[in-house]
Symmetry: C2
Subunit: 392 residues, 2 copies
Amino acid sequence: MSRANIKQINSCNDGICINKFKANGIKTEKYGVSLIWNDDLCDCAAVFTKNSIKANPVKYDIAQLKRRQKFKAIIANSGNANACIKEGLADVREMCKIAAEKLKSNPAQILCESTGIIGKRMDIEKIRKIVNDLDINEISSRNANKAIMTTDTKFKEICYEYKGIKIGGICKGAGMIAPNMATMLCFLTTNANLGANNSKILAQCLKESVGESFNMISVDGCMSTNDCIILLSDATKTCSADDFKFLLKFSTQELAKKVVADGEGATKFLEVVVEGANTKSKAIKIALTIVNSNLVKSAFFGENLNWGRIISAAGSVAKINFDNVDLKFEDMDNNKLVKILEKGDAMKLDDWSIMKAKNIRILLNLNEGENNATAWGCDLTYDYVKINAEYN
Amino acid sequence: MSRANIKQINSCNDGICINKFKANGIKTEKYGVSLIWNDDLCDCAAVFTKNSIKANPVKYDIAQLKRRQKFKAIIANSGNANACIKEGLADVREMCKIAAEKLKSNPAQILCESTGIIGKRMDIEKIRKIVNDLDINEISSRNANKAIMTTDTKFKEICYEYKGIKIGGICKGAGMIAPNMATMLCFLTTNANLGANNSKILAQCLKESVGESFNMISVDGCMSTNDCIILLSDATKTCSADDFKFLLKFSTQELAKKVVADGEGATKFLEVVVEGANTKSKAIKIALTIVNSNLVKSAFFGENLNWGRIISAAGSVAKINFDNVDLKFEDMDNNKLVKILEKGDAMKLDDWSIMKAKNIRILLNLNEGENNATAWGCDLTYDYVKINAEYN
């Protein structure tokens, strides 16, 4: 499975509405509600936040997924996280009931997710009204995506096909994006059928791909109470786990990159590639630390070639031999590669225009082993502070 | 040893120049140089950055302190960190030589520290010129403090006396202040004589006090290549280790608080007190995570009572039972205490003016055990981004 196979992945325009999956949503001023559904029961896998403070819908879904593996629909809202609210579990149940009535389904076959402010009681009547207004004869992945957006400024929607396997997805998340997921809701649909234990194998594949996608992005190092990724499969396409994993990793990485590219206030997209580490965990730790460093992030915002901050961030979490280190920056839009350090020696740079690039790859080679890791992030800007100072 | 003893601590005006310790410094546009010295050899203890990428003066001092325990002077500069520069060790040696010539001393009895940009060769001739211009008949702790400042906007100078024990100190550091020290240079002088193994016991006391002061502050979660705290003692006052530790902890905490209060761009000083944790390490981890959270920090900048971000930050690093949690905010200038959460129930707040306070204590009680920890930080502001986008 190589990068060349990516050519065989075709983009489609269905978003999350592949095959018979349907979706629609309505965004009002403060609240938004999306429904994603299938008339048939689907196999299901999910990954949730590792925060010990879990929002009520997360607690509810985890409990439901222990009880059964097949679901028909997801109801998701923006505007309120339903977290740190003792009475909130009743509101989750009510949301599933509202969705079930609308879709003429069973509340137990519906999962629920929320995003928004923590610690405020959900306005369940607003949710009911929006669902009431929702036209389930209209199918719109885009509307469903829009309805779950909070500080997001861009749609995050994908649809890919590879060897007949399809994956569709929508995602929200722009701040609080940190290792171990993000304030991120991500809903994926697929047709993959991986055999008798489909849900179980889907779950393994999802966990693996999240490790190389959503867990490798960071906007601000904060971990949310509401993060989740839910995957539904209609199981109509028998395929190999390897082929499915290949497409799933590609799909989740594309969505993860869309999330950081739309990071709150971001003006630059950063890809950090750590190469030549003597262990995989060291490569991962360094890549995430660099992409999380406020000092590195603000230097890129200022278009300031302060490479010492990258080295310092790396050294703060792992033993680095500076005399071995190569560092390069790449303008990803123009394939322009600039050497910054070669075996610890700083290059004399006449042309600093690389710092003006919008999409920058930072290549740090430790030259000590065979392990690599890639993390994605963005710069730290005035607007990040503004958005998060004012958000309520 | 209780808080009541603090009344017995007297402030003095000598800064670092207690007893026969002398200091002076000159700050020019880009570079600054300070000398701190004593005509007699002093016992010495030090704590350095845990970053695996260590600046050349840090490497040099660590090696020197392995060879001998007595030193006469410190030369320190701002403007260049002398880090990630292969030839930089020769420049450290040259700086010690320059200082030794000025003070008619031996280079081996001199320690060296630097702060400033990483990855650029030190302009040793500038250092030589400044030391040449320095008047060693003038004694000025304040000048020495000024000369090592970079983005600092306030002096950080202390001098305290307790039962005849004196501690003087100067400190610089305003950004990159993170757990496990900071881009922070801190020089301390004392008269404490703790017996035959004075240097060794001083080192133990210093390590302990750093754990409860400089390691509990954070401006931006980044760890520098240059952090150091050096303590020199003329050993003229025989005292108990307990009395010395008491004064040292108080002194280092006062300096640490001055550092975060002057955090780059900060408009608010935050003290996070985590109480009732079932382990000490859990209390420390949670306190530091809260004080480090960009989301918490920007909420305080916006004077926005987004308490969910505090709970979410705590839950992201440790298992929290939300139903047990008490949360209070205290306006430290007016002793005004406001309950936010009581056993997980959000209080109805009519008066939100607590968020307008400049010095805010965040009291989080987990109500599960007996362990407490305190961390200090500041808000995240437009000016933090501006300073770090433009710094070079």
